[in-house]
Symmetry: C2
Subunit: 674 residues, 2 copies
């Protein structure tokens, strides 16, 4: 095989040159993006541990059958657990390890949902009993809420748990086809236990949905318990991707569980079958919700930055057109159209990282408030975390596909790493709350806040700007030249004014309508847009806050300023109609923003490769021939191709049966199997 050197151009050197041109201290940026020196050290150590362990290889994931894939993921999960125990890894280290292994499996739901829910909803006694088992993986739990017929509408679940005082048991039952539990991860083939959400019925009264622990498989031989029907729900989007997970189905035919298996922190049923609420505030669950959602935002940044890393590096290696008079062809990263689609995503990956840090703080803050029985800001926290979950996952999913398309034909190969990244990530738009429904919840909060503002209540936190609604709905933007757009307070005011105006317009519509529920429904597309604008404002404001802080490392602060401005201006130009419609901006001001955006592209360009290097993804984690650190793209595409099963034989399987008869026109001959 000829080396690419023969082209007279060493691609492997391109990235070295790119790196040499960076205008900031990359290592300092790495530490910033990792969240600190300690986090950086842990991440680096664990990422390398995973990358160097052959059990965690993932190259062939897109090629193998579902069965092999699944079996292999069981192996990886077990192997990881063994390392965790052997090396005595901390919780932080263990979580990093699961992330770097980069393959969904039953332990995700066990640790992420089963244990989290037990902590939130089980009494201390129950926690003592179940968590002990769960912490050592002596039982494997899953989170069985969604049914065939109901996902978003949890209150519509149909599974029943009917109390039988004669035996002090609940009888779990799946009365209809649509009551079949459907989707829980880890349920299909791995879990021994399920946290089952079911309608609690006692004394012939339906008390609505509650959580119950049900054992579903034998701890001796893993065979499903009597009257339990359980299995996998089938193949999901993409090769590899989420198919290493056994999302499952589950039916109960009058299965009995002890009364104590109901999680009783917030409500309980007595031996006599009396339903009693506890005096614990129901808001206690909010902490867990903020925790899970900050994880989702942090993960969005990880996924988006992986895709952006691949696309930026490949765009710097890839050359196409130009190249007259013995000059090398143009690196596609130099095309403005490429920059226009790629650099805003790079800025977004930084933005989401920063919001992720802020949400970590928010979680700590909420936890402290809850401990002090201070529930005052919960609606605001709920709205902002729901909204941020929605916009970060939608933008990330679309952004990964955008990055894939930016790699031209080669992006369509699984060897690029991008198809699998997308397929594995995109359900984040659906699980933990459908993204549209979440934005409608944010919209409800905005309307409520405006009503409260009207009656004199001061809004708090991320909604505080609505206290300024008078000003924001009357002022107009004062930008008169491109550079004005680099002023943080100009940007902030623009996003506040836009969001406030959209919310106010909706609120007025709803207020004027005779039936406000009907009006809300009628206006829901606009409400979704208003909610999105509010959430984008949150991200912009957190990015601006961060960019104004001093940071160690030459040039680090400057890069963040550039990316912050680019992020804000990209949003502004993409959504310019929102700003134009109310006259806050003029067409000329939008033009200035576009010009300024291009000037920022030129600032980003020499730093682009270094800015993605700062995310510090290992080649193993990226799993991409196009995104390799060394830029040696073509060699690895070429070598990788030969590993396809179709290349195992020179003459293809099926030639004699199906190709030869065609070529020889012997479709009816004695040898034809057609």
């Amino acid at each position: 095989m000829e080396g690419i050197e023969e082209r007279g151009v060493k691609e492997v050197d391109y990235l070295a040159e790119e790196r040499a041109g960076a205008q900031f201290h990359v290592h300092s940026m790495k530490i910033f993006l990792a969240g600190g020196q300690h986090e950086y050290e842990v991440s680096t150590r664990i990422a390398n541990l995973v990358a160097n362990d052959p059990v965690f290889a993932k190259e062939d994931r897109a090629r193998i059958s579902r069965k092999e894939l699944y079996k292999n993921s069981l192996k990886k999960a077990g192997h990881a657990w063994k390392i965790i125990l052997e090396k005595g890894l901390t919780e932080e280290e263990s979580m990093r390890m699961r992330a770097f292994i980069d393959e969904p499996n039953y332990t995700d739901l066990h640790w992420g949902m089963f244990i989290t829910a037990l902590k939130g909803q089980a009494t201390e006694e129950q926690q003592h009993k179940w968590l002990r088992q769960a912490y050592k993986l002596a039982i494997i739990g899953c989170y069985a809420q969604t049914e065939l017929g109901h996902g978003s509408n949890v209150q519509g679940l149909e599974t029943t748990a009917t109390f039988d005082p004669s035996t002090d048991e609940f009888v779990l039952n799946s009365p209809t086809l649509t009551s079949t539990k459907w989707w829980p991860g880890g349920l299909g083939k791995a879990s021994t236990h399920a946290l089952v959400y079911a309608r609690l019925i006692t004394d012939s009264q339906d008390y609505g949905v509650h959580a119950f622990i049900a054992q579903i498989r034998s701890l001796d031989d893993h065979i499903p318990l009597p009257n339990v029907t359980v299995g996998d729900i089938g193949v999901k989007f993409g090769n590899g991707g989420y198919n290493s997970m056994d999302n499952g189905l589950l039916r109960f035919d009058h299965v009995r569980i002890p009364r104590e298996n109901m999680l009783m922190k917030l409500a309980r049923v007595t031996e006599q079958g009396k339903y009693e609420r506890s005096n614990k505030p129901r808001q206690l669950g909010y902490g867990a919700m903020v925790y899970i959602r900050q994880g989702i935002v942090a993960e969005a940044s990880v996924y988006l930055s992986r895709a952006v890393t691949i696309a930026v590096r490949y765009s710097a290696v890839r050359r196409q057109f130009g190249g007259k008079d013995d000059k090398a062809e143009v690196q596609v990263i130099d095309y403005r159209t490429q920059q226009h689609r790629l650099f805003p995503l790079l800025a977004t990956a930084y933005a989401y990282r920063i919001v992720g840090f802020w949400m970590k703080w928010l979680y700590a803050d909420v936890t402290e408030r809850l401990n002090n029985n201070d529930f005052s800001n919960l609606p605001e926290v709920h709205a902002c975390t729901a909204g941020l979950k929605s916009i970060t996952t939608s933008v990330t999913a679309d952004g990964i596909e955008q990055c894939r398309k930016l790699c031209g034909g080669h992006g369509y190969l699984c060897a690029s790493g991008l198809p699998e990244l997308y397929a594995a990530y995109v359900p984040a738009c659906t699980y933990e709350g459908d993204n549209t429904i979440l934005l409608l919840q944010v919209a409800r909060f905005l309307l409520k806040t405006l009503t409260q503002v009207a009656s004199g209540t001061k809004p708090v936190g991320t909604a505080a700007y609505l206290g300024n609604v008078q000003h924001l709905t009357s002022v107009n933007c004062e930008v008169s030249q491109g550079k004005d757009w680099l002023n943080p307070s100009v940007l902030l005011e623009a996003f506040e004014a836009r969001s406030a105006r959209m919310a106010v317009a909706c609120a007025m519509h709803v207020a004027e309508a005779p039936d406000s529920e009907l009006a809300f429904e009628e206006l829901s597309p606009e409400l979704v847009e208003a909610a999105r604008a509010h959430c984008q404002l949150i991200v912009v404001s957190k990015f601006i806050e961060q960019a104004q802080k001093d940071l160690p490392g030459e040039g680090v602060k400057q890069q963040l300023e550039v990316l912050c401005n680019l992020y804000a201006l990209s949003l502004l130009t993409t959504h310019s109609s929102d700003f134009l419609a109310t006259g806050y901006l003029t067409g000329t001001q939008v033009s200035h923003a576009k010009d300024q955006q291009k000037a920022l592209f030129s600032c980003v360009r020499p730093n682009a490769v270094a800015l993605v290097d700062a995310f510090d993804h290992t080649d193993h984690y990226l799993g991409s021939a196009l995104g390799r650190y060394d830029g040696d793209v073509y060699t690895h595409l070429y070598k990788g191709a030969w590993k396809d099963p179709l290349n195992e034989s020179v003459v293809t399987e099926g030639y004699h049966e199906y190709l030869r008869p065609v070529l020889t026109q012997q479709l009816w001959g004695p040898t034809s199997k057609l």
Copy 2:
């Protein structure tokens, strides 16, 4: 298994009710969408033939290994060929059959590119020799243009064909790694011949890229010929999808082919090695290009309508929330947010069907002109077909994913049919021209046209409105209430004004710049937007033309009017910043458009299911549990799940090796394989 009847709601009846409520004659719409009575009859007959033949079953496609998938697709291709010969199917019938089989395979490139290119570029003598073989599939050809290093930039291809007068042969060679042919469909494992694009070198001079026929595999035993390296390039995006195709790689190590294997219609090399152009006009190739692109636009409509059919039917079956006081829950198709995302796509599927019809006419027109040596409108035709290819494929790919997300969690299952539809379709954004690069070509045409207009030339065809540029850049919209937006000439003017203004703004920028090439590059993001606006105008104008025609069938014309208005207003509200920025529209006028759009949603709602029925996709073709004609969604999701390979054994493979050791804490015991 309990029937869903037990829920007291028969989903299977929902669609019957929906159908009963339709306000138009569905059968007439079917005939319209098929392109006529004859086409309808052929489609129906062939669709059923395919649906009822067990060889063409495709349920398990997402579950099986690449090897099985590929072998099976060879079987299907052979079986289809047998049917074609046995039944003596016409070309039209054969093409419909390949479409309904719905599985990419080597015959696509053989018929679609190899034969098409031969027809366009081979001399009559060459056609006589090669087409005879190709028509009976005695040879299998592929189209080998793209290389590892060059796709978009065809002029940069590196493969060489050096003429050796001593033997009257060309020597094909792959001098570098990046010169490896990479991507040609059918090349990997099936083709016996390749149409190879290579730099023609004779007399030490490089005459640029020309086409050559090279045999690559033996016709006796299918073994690659000496010094030919050929194989598959590996797994692509998605399960099933495009993986039934053997996109291939190909390297030549000084392989000799006869001089006559160069396609010589437009240029030839003499025995003495002299390069000579023929007197045939080079524009002759345009016919083939229009033909291929009209096929792509027609296909866009097919794919988009399949996704929309699935999402509309499922949204009518799916109920979520509401349902108090014993009322059934709300059908999710009744939510405005759902309509807002779904109905514009329904209208788009209709729009693209109509543009497809128009492009068929355009092809006939171009063919006739070419025969008369009339090349006058070729630039316009080129621009409009390139642009329509670009926007229809981008919108369709995104639309399929949108439809999938509209199905909530269940859309993520391959059983929904949508993941595979997306994965198989999305490369259409890249092949036959990267969509961004195509729009830049359209932009160049627009700038040139404006220059010509300035010097008094009258623009033709789809660019004719630019002759009116004075008016269009000065007039403002006169809409004063929602209903005004239903006036076709109001809509048309709005789209013309928008497109003209965007093009003019770019043209002025470029004209003012000292270096117009540099200015073009700098302005390329805006140029892409201007090109998109121009192409959207084409679609809107063709839809308006059609909607004004009388059509047989009660209510058919009315439905098309509604969909046409919806299509136009959805584009207008989505891109409202373009209209607002120059002051052509005010914010209030955009609000009117949004209100009117909602009124149109309400017109579409009772007809939605019938409007997708009119596309007449069989259940086989849709391959979707969610999109079934009878709406019996849950039964089929449930039954389908059990066919997953993971459900073959009750206790999962890998339990003893990888799960039991974890559960029993015996990770280091003698039985642990971890």
